[in-house]
């Protein structure tokens, strides 16, 4: 291949190029590692809720050596993007060693943290071995809201201190919040706060049910309120409006054209999840894990995920006939956590999809009668 070239690309351009090159090919490019399910906060909505001091869980988690060995194997298998999440990742006393090793293997790293356990040493590490991004969740803009959500006195000040430390060290930072009943009155002010800091901000309001049995449906915002918030967000609204172009084709297709398989997301196609104990699954929300990476190989685990993706939807699955599936956030994991069955309508997601379609003018613009799940 001549002549020689050395082309400059942004991280996004590289992602697009790889996507275009691979087409529908299954390649394990992006891994999310749950370093621990334990957390020092006790958030009302959280789907995990494992106590920080649970020694039994701590003992079951992969050791430093096991994670390092796994990172090596993931890099050799071709993984490039890595997200470290929890629980709270900074609860691991070996976080610095794990992070530095992942950087030395050339992963593009994103970190999800609550920011409350940050130390000057960790900030210095991240300033030197900089990540693609650190994302901190703000559980409120006031101490009262933040600590009502997280259940921990003093956590608000520690979180804001963490935000400031990252900004001063110029570590790439993003903020987000969970838009839900306890935070609803502060979400718009949080956008303003982040803008003043010069930091990107987003909200997520589509709360999944939990793994530990607590029913969080009463924490969800009414669909109308959440969709209004989505479209009021100056950053997110253009993206949502672009759904119009991206999904119009999907919406106008016969639904069975795109609902043949149960899993239509990136899980097992380009991405996967590794839990704190070395278990591999399609994503963080699909449990239990289906393959043990401690005793097995990444390649074999990837094949197991590929077999899962072959599962076809049943002919009587209501969403199979829905024209709004392309703009709906329902997925098998969402259904499973909601109703114990991956092939069920999630009424909350359904209501949001309909409101989005209305807002985008998709429903009015179509000549035919839409078939919508849950109607």
């Amino acid at each position: 291949m001549w002549p020689m070239s050395c082309e400059e690309l942004t991280y996004n351009q590289l992602g697009e190029n790889i996507k275009a090159r691979l087409g529908g090919q299954r390649v394990p490019l992006s891994v999310t590692v749950g370093l621990t399910d334990r957390c020092n906060l006790w958030c009302v909505h959280c789907f995990v809720h494992d106590p920080a001091r649970d020694q039994e869980l701590r003992a079951r988690e992969l050791t430093t050596e096991q994670w390092i060995d796994l990172f090596d194997r993931l890099a050799e298998a071709g993984c490039f993007w890595m997200t470290m999440t929890g629980g709270e990742i900074l609860l691991r006393p070996d976080f610095a060693d794990l992070y530095r090793h992942a950087k030395q293997r050339g992963f593009l790293l994103s970190l999800l943290t609550n920011g409350t356990l940050l130390t000057p040493e960790l900030v210095a590490l991240l300033a030197e071995w900089y990540p693609l991004v650190v994302e901190i969740t703000l559980y409120g803009l006031t101490r009262e809201t933040y600590e009502a959500v997280t259940g921990v006195a003093g956590a608000y000040d520690r979180c804001l201190r963490g935000v400031r430390m990252f900004l001063e060290a110029r570590v790439p930072l993003r903020l987000k919040t969970i838009a839900m009943v306890p935070t609803r009155h502060e979400v718009r002010a949080m956008y303003q706060f982040a803008a003043e800091l010069g930091v990107e901000f987003r909200h997520d309001g589509v709360l999944f049910q939990t793994f530990h049995g607590k029913d969080i449906r009463d924490l969800r915002l009414p669909p109308e309120e959440l969709v209004a918030l989505d479209f009021a967000n100056p950053k997110a609204a253009p993206d949502l409006r672009r759904l119009d172009d991206r999904y119009r084709d999907l919406v106008e297709k016969a639904p069975h054209d795109f609902q043949e398989y149960l899993y239509t997301c990136g899980g097992g196609l380009r991405s996967f999840y590794v839990d704190p104990y070395g278990g591999m699954s399609l994503c963080q929300m699909t449990r239990p894990a289906v393959y043990d990476l401690v005793s097995g190989t990444v390649e074999e685990g990837w094949e197991v995920l590929g077999e899962l993706r072959q599962r076809r939807v049943s002919k009587d699955f209501a969403c199979l006939h829905c024209h709004l599936a392309g703009i709906c956030q329902r997925c098998p994991a969402f259904s499973f956590l909601e109703h114990g069955d991956p092939e069920t309508v999630v009424e909350y997601a359904c209501a949001i999809a309909r409101l989005r379609a209305q807002e985008l003018g998709l429903v009015d613009s179509m000549a035919k009668e839409l078939v919508v799940a849950g109607s």
Binding site: M1, W2, P3, M4, S5, C6, E7, E8, L9, T10, Y11, L14, N17, I18, R21, L22, V27, L29, A75, G78, F80, K103, Q104, R105, G106, L108, A127, E128, W129, Y130
Partner: protein
């Protein structure tokens, strides 16, 4: 002979080479390389050169390797090699460590 051919280059250890889904990528991992706000994608021949920048091979040797591996004249290989090295030096990802006689 152009005296640049006697130079041996080594790579900045803070820039890693990764092959991902068929793309050959230079990834800056540490602050010293943070000026590289982007990634750099090498094509096959550039990656071939990158792998030979080990502080031991001179550019003359690398040029000869290129001629042996690809259908290219020594003159073209040499001028393109100089161009690539100049770009990599400009990015701060390689540096001269020795001159062979």
């Amino acid at each position: 002979m152009d005296d640049r051919l006697q130079r041996c280059y080594e790579k900045d250890p803070n820039v890693l080479f990764r092959e991902v889904a068929g793309e050959q990528i230079l990834v800056p991992v540490r602050k010293q390389a943070a000026e590289m706000a982007a990634l750099y994608v090498l094509n096959e021949t550039s990656a071939f050169v990158w792998n030979l920048l080990d502080g031991k091979h001179s550019l003359a040797e690398i040029r000869d390797c290129l001629v042996a591996e690809y259908e290219v004249t020594p003159e073209t290989a040499e001028s393109d090699l100089f161009e690539l090295i100049e770009r990599l030096e400009g990015l701060g990802v390689v540096r001269v460590v020795a001159h062979v006689m």
